[in-house]
Every structure is written in structure tokens, then in C-alpha cells.
Amino acid sequence: MSDATTDATLPKTAAAETPEGPWRVALRKLFRDRTAVGAIIVLVLIVLACCAAPLYAKYVSQSDPFQSNLDGSITLDGNSVDIMQADTAGLGLGVTPIGPTWHGQYFFGADNQGRDVAARMLYGGQNSLLISFFATVVTLVLAAIIGTIAGFIGGLTDTVLARLLDVLWAFPVYLLAISLSIVFISKGIQIGPFTIPSNSLILPIMIIGIVYVPYVARPIRGQVMSLTRSDFVLAARCLGVPSFRILVRDILPNVTTTLIVFAPLMMALNMLTESALSFLSIGVQPPNASWGTIILDGEDLLYTQPMVAIAPGLAIIITVLALNFLGDGVRDAFDPRAKLRVKKD
């Protein structure tokens, strides 16, 4: 019987030319997922459209979406039409903004300042996207730091951090977000020489980012804990690898996958949260807009010009839907077992 034990055959992907790393494999999987690719395309289109807001405002709607236009008029089919239409019948009470024209100008009509809703939606989309994106970054970075520290160091540090997360966890998200918003919107933040004015987008970004930290930090902590106890970390310990190097080389790459999986879902969630806060008028501050603030504007006109509220709502739904689909795809591609649980209203 042969004694030759050389094992030169590679099972399975033996034929692969260059071995693919887990990242490349995951990306390839992601781009094979038709739904995910569709979602990416939709998102790219939305982002491009929002980036094109100045062009739209200049060439299509031909109006400044941040200047009130209470006395203006536009020409529709040869007739001059007031943007703020005074009631001519009856008692002559009240002024109603123009409704959707389905023309380039005032496509979705005007809001109660006579501003072009369609143009504002593109600008508002910029803010909604920026806020939800950066709030996601804030959440993930903070959660990764806290979760990793708690899970990796353990002991008293972990106990303290875990208790802190417990407290935040038991604090209904919207209550915390509303409380923080009310404080900071009326005050702004001053840290040493740095002042963040109350109308800065940084405020909603920080607030939304912070309130969701427990929701991500908890699973990260759990994951880091189980990674810390995993055989390969034990093996690394056994090889005399310093803790920090274990953290960087063995634990963080695995955590990163989880973060990537969470990212689109968090961004979807943040977009909804941002819109809710703006809807309660404690998010983006006027005259700056976000989809949530436009819904709020539209709420005042709900029964007369519903399109002002409906259009940005649809924009939110499409974006969030695309993000959720992307999230599903990313999860399937990167880590089918990752789970994110969030409370919502």
C-alpha cells in the first residue's frame, strides 16, 4: 500500500486560476443577484437625480426652491397663472398654492411658500440621503467601537458598556431622538472652539446615529464575544499573537462583514427615522428641506394639494425599498446568518 501522503489535489474549486478572497466572492455573489443589482441601479438613479437638483432647479423648474415665491406667477399653456391662488369665489378667504402642472415648472405644484415642490424634493433628497448615510456611518462606527471593546476586553468594561446599552435599549428610539432633537435644535452644540449650529445637518446625523447604536452594538458585542472564544482566535493566542493584532487581523475583518450587512438596512431605517423627526419638525430645519419636511409642508395642504405630501412619501418608499432589497442581497452575499432587530413605530 502506498505510503505517499502528499495531498496535491484540491477539491472543489481546484481549477480556479487565482483564488478569490471572501470579499470578491461576496461581491460576485451580490452582482449575480438580480434584485440587488436592480436596487443598486434604482439607488444610483436616485442619487444622480438628487445630485442634479441645481440643474433641475435652473433649467427645468426655473425657480429657486429656497426662496419664497408668494407673488409670482408662471405661464401655463399661454395663460399666466398665479402660484399662490387666492380664492375668488365665496368670501375670498385663503390662498391655495398651485397644484401639479405636469409641466417642467411646478411639476408637483407649489408648497405654501410658493416654492417648486419637485425641485425641493431633489434638494431634499440630497439631505435625506446625506443624513441617512452619515447617520449610518456614525451608528456603525460607534457600535463597532463599543461592541468590539465590550466584547473583546470583557470584564468590568463590558459590564459597564453593556449596562449603558441596556439603558439606551429600554429607551424608546423615538422618545430619545425627540428628546435629543428638541435640546440640540434649540441650542446647537458647542464643544470647545467648535460650534455646530442648530440648522446644521450634523445634528440630525448625530442624533439618529446615536440612538441606534445599541441596536447594532449589541449584536456586534455578541459576535466579537463568540469570535474571541472561537478556535481560530484561541489558535492565534496560542501562537503568541498579541491581542491588538488578533483584534485587527482576526476579529475586525469578521465584524466588518456584519457591518456591511447592517449598512443598507440601517440606512433604510435612518431614512425613515429622519423623515419621522422632520415630520415632527425636529429634523432638518427650514428653509433647508428633506423628504420628511416636505411631507410636513404637505400635511398642511393634505386635503387641498395632496401631491405635496404624497410625492416625497413615494420617494422615501422607493429609496427605502431599494435599500432594503439591497440589504437582503448584501446579507445573502456576505453573511446569510446576520440578523438585525430594530424596533420601529
Binding site: 449596562r163 441596556d166 424608546p172 428628546s179 441650542k187 425613515l272 432594503n324 424596533k343 420601529k344
Partner: protein, 324 residues
């Protein structure tokens, strides 16, 4: 057995204490939150302002004020509003509770029933068209801002189609107690129920489907098949029963959070005078006693829900029951 219960209680108290400190801190960090000027009135002289500040104890150090508020809230139970002076906080919260309970309970029934149906159909047809369609609809439900759904529902049922036979039965917004007029109670709550449930149907339907699909990959399903059980029995008694562990614990947490005021946006949109709306109004008017009370109330429910979920978990999953 007593020790774990005490530990659990201590933990709950700690969390609630933490929250109360956070809320108190946030409140006093807010400029203009000092209620003295608002209480005193719009043209008060500095002397009157000082009097009010003194009589309400706003000139005392913050920890003393904190202790006093908590003492009034939990011990003498006569904490009153800063805005609607004289309005006792506890009865107001107690009175709002049935509203929130009505809303959340009805919505929960709808979402549980529909989510289970949806999850089971999707899992049974996994990969097929009904599965994909239901999962898509579920995702749409998750992706809709609840306040927007509420607004659109109002637009349709209160205005645009209110005069058609479809929605002419829909009464004006608001709340009628069940004891006063059950028919009205139901009619006013149906639309809010559905609005609130839409999100959760999507969420729970998807989670349940995922759990069922996961359960179907478990060995014990193979065993159940090998035993010659019918597919329906395998689905209900084995797959669903084990999937319910996650489902129920999720439900417990969400139910707790919603009863605790998490349905704030729905209550605001539909003008339901529940705890969420009470909280929102209190936050907007920076009415500290009310904020403290509602937040304590809400964290209480969240914490209790956590505890109940742990118990339910143990009840549903004997593996957990035995503390390994």
C-alpha cells in the same frame, strides 16, 4: 429561585433609574426649558419670576430637584404638570393607557394573524411566486413611513373617498372609549389599526418566513417526515411551533415598546389621545413632570416586556428553561 427574581428586579430598576437620569439631564440641558418664566406669565416682573422659581423649587440644586420630582412621582404620586398647572400626571397617564392599549392590541391582533398567514404561505411556497410576491409586499410595508401611511389613509377615508360607500362609515378622527360606544370605538380604530399593523405584518411575516425556512432545514423536520406526519402537521406543530420562539419574543418586545408609547406617530396622525401622543405633547411643551412620567411609564413597559419575553422564551423553549 428568589435570588434571580431579585436580581432581575434590581436590573429593571437600574435601567429605569438610568433612563430617568438621562431624561432629567436632557431636560435641564435645554435652553429656555426653565419653566419658571413660562409659569410666571408673559409680562412678569423679576420679583414674580423669582417667587415662582422659589415656590416650584427651581432654585435648588439639580440632584435635589431630581429627588423631589421622583418623590412626587412615585411616593406621594401627586406630581403635577408645569404647563397645565394642577393637572396630576399619574391620572393623565392612566387615562391615556386604555387608548394606547386599544390601538396596540387591535393592531397586534391584525399583524399577528396576517403575519402568520403570510409567513406560512411564503414558507410553504418558498422560491415560488406567492412567496416572492408576499415578501415584496412585506418589504413595501416595512419601507413606508407610518405617519405618511396614516396621512394618506386620512386623505382617502376622511376626504377624497369619504363620501363614497367605501368609507362613508369612517367617523371623524379621535377616540371613543370601548365602554362608552363599542361600535364607535371599533370604527375609529380600524384605520389606525391597519396603518400600524402594515409595518409589522411586513416585518413579522418576513421574519417568520425566514424562521420557518430555517426550521425546515432542521433535522427534526426530517424526523417528523420520517414519522409519516402530514405536511400540515409538520408545518404547524413542528416548524411553526419552534419558529414561534423568535416570533413571540419579538412580539413581546414590540408590544411592550408600543404600549409604552412607541406608537407615537400613529397616535399623533390619528389624533388618538394615547400615551405616545401624551409623551409627544409633553416633549414639545417641555413639560418635565409629564416627560418624566411618560418616559418612566414607557421604559417600565419596555423593561417589563424584556422580562416577560425572557419568561415566555423559557416557557416556549425548554432548552432555555433549564439554564443549560
Amino acid at each position: 429561585m428568589l435570588l434571580p427574581i431579585l436580581r432581575r428586579l434590581a436590573e429593571m430598576l437600574f435601567v429605569m433609574f438610568g433612563i430617568s437620569v438621562v431624561v432629567f439631564g436632557i431636560f435641564f440641558a435645554t435652553p429656555g426649558a426653565d419653566p419658571a418664566a413660562r409659569i410666571a406669565g408673559r409680562n412678569a416682573t423679576p420679583e414674580v419670576l423669582a417667587q415662582v422659581r422659589h415656590s416650584f423649587g427651581f432654585d435648588e440644586p439639580l440632584p435635589v430637584q431630581y429627588v423631589k420630582v421622583m418623590e412626587k412621582l412615585f411616593i406621594s404620586r401627586d406630581l403635577t404638570s408645569f404647563v397645565n398647572r394642577g393637572e396630576k400626571v399619574i391620572p393623565a397617564v392612566v387615562e391615556s393607557t386604555p387608548v394606547t392599549l386599544s390601538l396596540v392590541f387591535g393592531a397586534a391582533v391584525i399583524w399577528v394573524v396576517f403575519a402568520i398567514i403570510m409567513g406560512m404561505i411564503a414558507a410553504a411556497t418558498r422560491g415560488g411566486i406567492p412567496d416572492r410576491l408576499l415578501m415584496f409586499l412585506g418589504l413595501v410595508g416595512i419601507s413606508m413611513p407610518v405617519f405618511w401611511v396614516g396621512s394618506v389613509a386620512n386623505l382617502i377615508t376622511q376626504s377624497r373617498f369619504h363620501h363614497t360607500f367605501l368609507f362613508s362609515w369612517v367617523p371623524g378622527l379621535g377616540y371613543t372609549p370601548l365602554t362608552q360606544n363599542p361600535g364607535m370605538w371599533f370604527k375609529q380604530l380600524v384605520i389606525p389599526w391597519i396603518t400600524l399593523a402594515i409595518l409589522y405584518i411586513g416585518l413579522y411575516g418576513r421574519v417568520l418566513r425566514a424562521n420557518l425556512v430555517e426550521a425546515y432545514q432542521e433535522d427534526f423536520i426530517r424526523t417528523a417526515r420520517a414519522k409519516g406526519l402530514s405536511e400540515r402537521r409538520i408545518m404547524v406543530r413542528h416548524a411553526l411551533r419552534t419558529s414561534l420562539i423568535t416570533f413571540v419574543s419579538m412580539f413581546g418586545l414590540d408590544f411592550g415598546a408600543l404600549v409604552g408609547g412607541g406608537a407615537l406617530l400613529t397616535e399623533v396622525v390619528f389624533n388618538l389621545p394615547g400615551v405616545g401622543r401624551l409623551t409627544y405633547v409633553a416633549l414639545q411643551s417641555l413639560d418635565l413632570p409629564f416627560i418624566m412620567a411618560t418616559v418612566m411609564y414607557s421604559s417600565f413597559f419596555v423593561v417589563v416586556a424584556n422580562a416577560v419575553v425572557d419568561i415566555a422564551y423559557a416557557w416556549l423553549d425548554p432548552r432555555v428553561r433549564d439554564a443549560r
